[in-house]
């Protein structure tokens, strides 16, 4: 069976790096993997979606509706938008940040109320204050690594492979901070 992971967020939030860390951690564990990324137009503050699939043999790089084992959302509205992709028994992990999209800014639409409450009723949900944990680790920029840490507990990839991947992906002077950020996510209660 392949494991299907979907990472969603807003262009510029660092979802691409998150999917690359995930992809490399998997390859470290010796599995087949495909990572589908988004480049170009939508990176300019639009909705961005990346997929990571791994297992014995992975065919297509995309995740269909109703097929994601895990959705890692960097932003609440994007989590809400991605819900149809979650498997019935899938896990949704949401960073509690909210970023208004342009139609909300211009007043043409409203940002839905109580997204986390609605999601909690619809699926297995973990809400993370990733910004606070990242700040605790030493940099607000480590939000993506905190979230990866939370997600790591739902995969069968060994802890050591994650740490090794972080060490090989981020610049040396940020390794300790990022490992700390990962740990804070990994050991999150909830």
């Amino acid at each position: 069976m392949t494991k299907n992971i979907m990472i969603v967020g807003v262009g510029g939030q660092g979802t691409l790096l998150a999917s690359r860390i995930l992809g490399n951690a998997v390859i470290g564990a010796g599995l087949d993997v495909k990572v589908s990324e988004v480049h170009g137009m939508s990176q300019r503050g639009g909705s961005v979606v990346t997929y990571v699939k791994y297992g014995e043999k992975v065919q297509s790089p995309i995740v269909d509706k109703g097929c994601a084992d895990i959705i890692l959302a960097f932003e609440q509205l994007e989590a809400y938008r991605a819900l149809p992709y979650l498997k019935e028994d899938g896990r949704m992990i949401v960073n509690n940040q909210k970023i208004n999209p342009m139609p909300v800014i211009t007043g043409a639409a409203e940002y839905p109320e109580g997204i986390c409450e609605k999601l909690a009723e619809a699926c297995d949900l973990t809400v993370v204050d990733a910004a606070a944990l990242a700040a605790e680790a030493g940099s607000i920029k480590a939000v993506n690594v905190v979230l990866i840490g939370v997600m790591a507990t739902s995969t069968d990839i060994p802890y050591e492979d994650w740490i090794a991947t972080i060490r090989s992906t981020v610049p040396p002077k940020f390794v300790e901070m990022n490992v700390k950020a990962f740990d804070l996510g990994y050991h999150l209660k909830g």
């Binding site: 807003v10 480049h39 170009g40 994007e78 979650l86 342009m102 839905p112 699926c123």
Partner: protein, 577 residues
């Protein structure tokens, strides 16, 4: 060594391993990272050309000169380079020559959804189509072998999901990159009628031989699972089909999508009760099958539009519905891309909207000036069309209309194909005003240098095309440089230049806010004395939204560019450090 690689990076690796020496491209999503990845291989000369036609011609020249060469572009880039492509099919090659063209099913970053396979057929150039990164590398190398063996340029067709997906690739060594001898051979390389007539004979003969090759090519594979359903597919669509149908179907996977192995297809199809052709976009394979008299199911079961998914294929072929989908039914606001906080284009469009001008737009980050609240672009067709279409509008509707109309075009796009339109305006006595949005970089495709930035693809300093002298040199007498963040000054310049009875150019100069050299600091705040006039909301800045009925600046989104401080008529917005 095994490595997780983007499809585009794998194509670059394939070029490296194949001994490629020269790569010339123009950026375009989803093809850009091929050439960006070439840069890491010091053995390869790489460049960003001003446009795809130039890029293709540089690659053609390198091939005739004896080197293996490559040019990469997005699907619409192939339109721009089509002219040399059709004729290099006749000349053939010396060193192997491969054109990598990336289609954009689903239009993630494009203005249309054209299917580049039509070009292979029209130009009689063979086309290979990989499904994943490992095949990207393998097919690239094969393309060079075929190119030299058959004296033929080759297409490698990619798509967004192949170009931008990472999968595992096994790295190999680079083969020698010896230059082939250069021999003068006008009968082969000088395409005037007398020679071209003979080369056309060769082209048809070559196509026949390529078709023979296709019959036994190792990249056209059959997978038998003892099913009654046969599937003919290629590229990314094959992986969707495989995931959806698994061993419930047999497959003919075409690694070469032009020319097609007709006998192989006929033999394969004969074995099944039902044969499906599964291909995104146009029914290219399907029509070919039908022309061979094969009964297939194609577009009656699948859409002509956008991307496919495994779920869609399972439904169409097996009637299976797939896992449960949870929808809560509440409308969810869309999140279209927006100009970044600090984007220099924002000032320009704020002014154009305020003045109520007609705006012929072009392609780049600034195309986002078409969306609310800036909503100020009337047309976007293709790169360069802003300038020439405004000329046409003015000729249709007269000078008074021209004075209420401007063209907006980015620096890279202006060099790509705007300059020729400007020459048309000067030569044919137009009076248009062209605004060049000079943000010192090719923004939309992710910060590539271009002839106006003063740096090469490898970041080396080089001569910089001076836009001001360039415009003057073609005969525009009124060329003004203005800062789009000086809203009052910029407005004055636009008013003055549009009123002229002669052509004029405004160079709106301010670098992209995402460039490392740009250092805005601090952030802006709206004071308690805010009169709630909401003028600042007209900027469409992602950092400014309404909170508790009043405009509010989200510090985490604001980069302190300060544009909004000049918009507030009451001076209530202040910049803090």
């Amino acid at each position: 060594m095994k490595k997780l690689m983007l499809g585009n990076a794998a194509v670059a690796r394939g070029a490296y391993e194949a001994g490629v020496r020269v790569v010339s491209s123009y950026p375009g999503t989803p093809s850009t990272e091929i050439t960006e990845n070439i840069v890491q291989y010091e053995e390869i000369y790489a460049e960003w050309a001003p446009n795809e036609k130039v890029a293709a011609e540089v690659a053609i020249g390198a091939s005739i000169g004896g080197a293996r060469a490559m040019s990469c572009m997005k699907h619409v880039g192939l339109n721009v380079m089509a002219d040399p492509v059709f004729t290099v099919s006749y000349t053939g090659v010396n060193g192997g020559l491969v054109f990598c063209v990336a289609d954009d099913q689903g239009m993630h970053s494009s203005q249309n959804e054209q299917d580049s396979r039509h070009y292979a057929k029209a130009s009689k150039i063979p086309m290979l189509e990989p499904s994943d990164s490992a095949e990207c590398k393998e097919f690239t190398k094969l393309a060079y072998e075929l190119s030299e063996a058959y004296d033929c340029p080759m297409f490698l067709r990619l798509s967004t999901r192949v170009s931008h997906s990472q999968s595992i690739v096994e790295l190999e060594e680079r083969r020698g990159d010896a230059l082939k001898d250069y021999k003068k051979d006008p009968a082969k390389y000088v395409m005037m009628p007398g020679n071209a007539i003979k080369r056309h004979v060769y082209v048809e003969e070559r196509l026949r031989r390529m078709q023979e090759y296709a019959e036994t090519a190792s990249i056209n594979t059959i997978e038998e699972n003892g099913s009654k359903i046969g599937v003919i597919s290629a590229g990314i669509a094959y992986l969707y089909a495989k995931e959806a149908l698994g061993d419930k179907a047999d497959y003919l996977k075409l690694g070469m999508v032009y020319p097609l192995p007709e006998k192989k297809i006929i033999d394969f199809a004969a074995k099944y009760e039902k044969v499906y052709v599964i291909e995104e976009l146009d029914p290219v394979l399907e029509m070919h099958c039908r022309s061979l008299g094969i009964e297939v199911i194609g577009k009656e079961a699948f859409t002509l539009l956008g991307e496919y998914t495994p779920r869609m294929i399972a439904k169409a072929v097996l009637g299976e519905d797939g896992g449960k989908v949870t929808e809560l039914g509440e409308p969810i606001p869309v999140r279209p891309p927006v100009m970044c906080a600090g984007c220099p284009h924002r000032g320009t469009f704020y002014v154009l909207k305020k003045l109520g001008l007609n705006v012929c737009g072009d392609i780049g980050c600034y195309t986002l000036g078409a969306v609310a609240p800036l909503s100020s672009i009337d047309t976007t067709i293709c790169m360069g069309a802003s300038v020439s279409a405004a000329m046409g509008m003015a000729k249709a509707r007269g000078d008074e209309f021209a004075k209420k109309t401007v063209s907006v075009i980015g620096d890279s796009t202006f060099i790509h194909s705007g300059i020729t339109g400007l020459i048309d305006i000067v030569y044919n006595k137009g009076i248009n005003t062209v605004i060049i949005l000079d943000n010192s970089i090719t923004g939309m495709t992710g910060h590539q240098d271009n002839p106006t930035t003063g740096y090469t693809i490898r970041g080396e300093e080089t001569k910089q095309v001076n836009l001001l002298t360039l415009c003057k040199a073609v005969g525009v007498e009124h060329v003004v440089v203005a800062d789009p963040f000086d809203l009052k000054g910029f407005e004055k310049v636009v008013k003055e230049e549009t009123q002229r009875e002669e052509p004029s150019v405004i160079i709106a100069q301010r670098p992209c806010a995402l460039l490392k050299s740009v250092k805005y600091s601090g952030h802006c705040t709206i004071g308690a004395d805010c009169k709630n006039c909401k003028l600042c909301m007209k900027l469409g800045c992602p950092a400014i939204s309404i909170k508790d009925g009043k405009p509010f600046i989200d510090e985490s989104q604001c980069n302190g560019c300060g544009l909004c401080t000049g918009v507030c008529p009451f001076g209530c917005i202040k910049k803090e450090d």
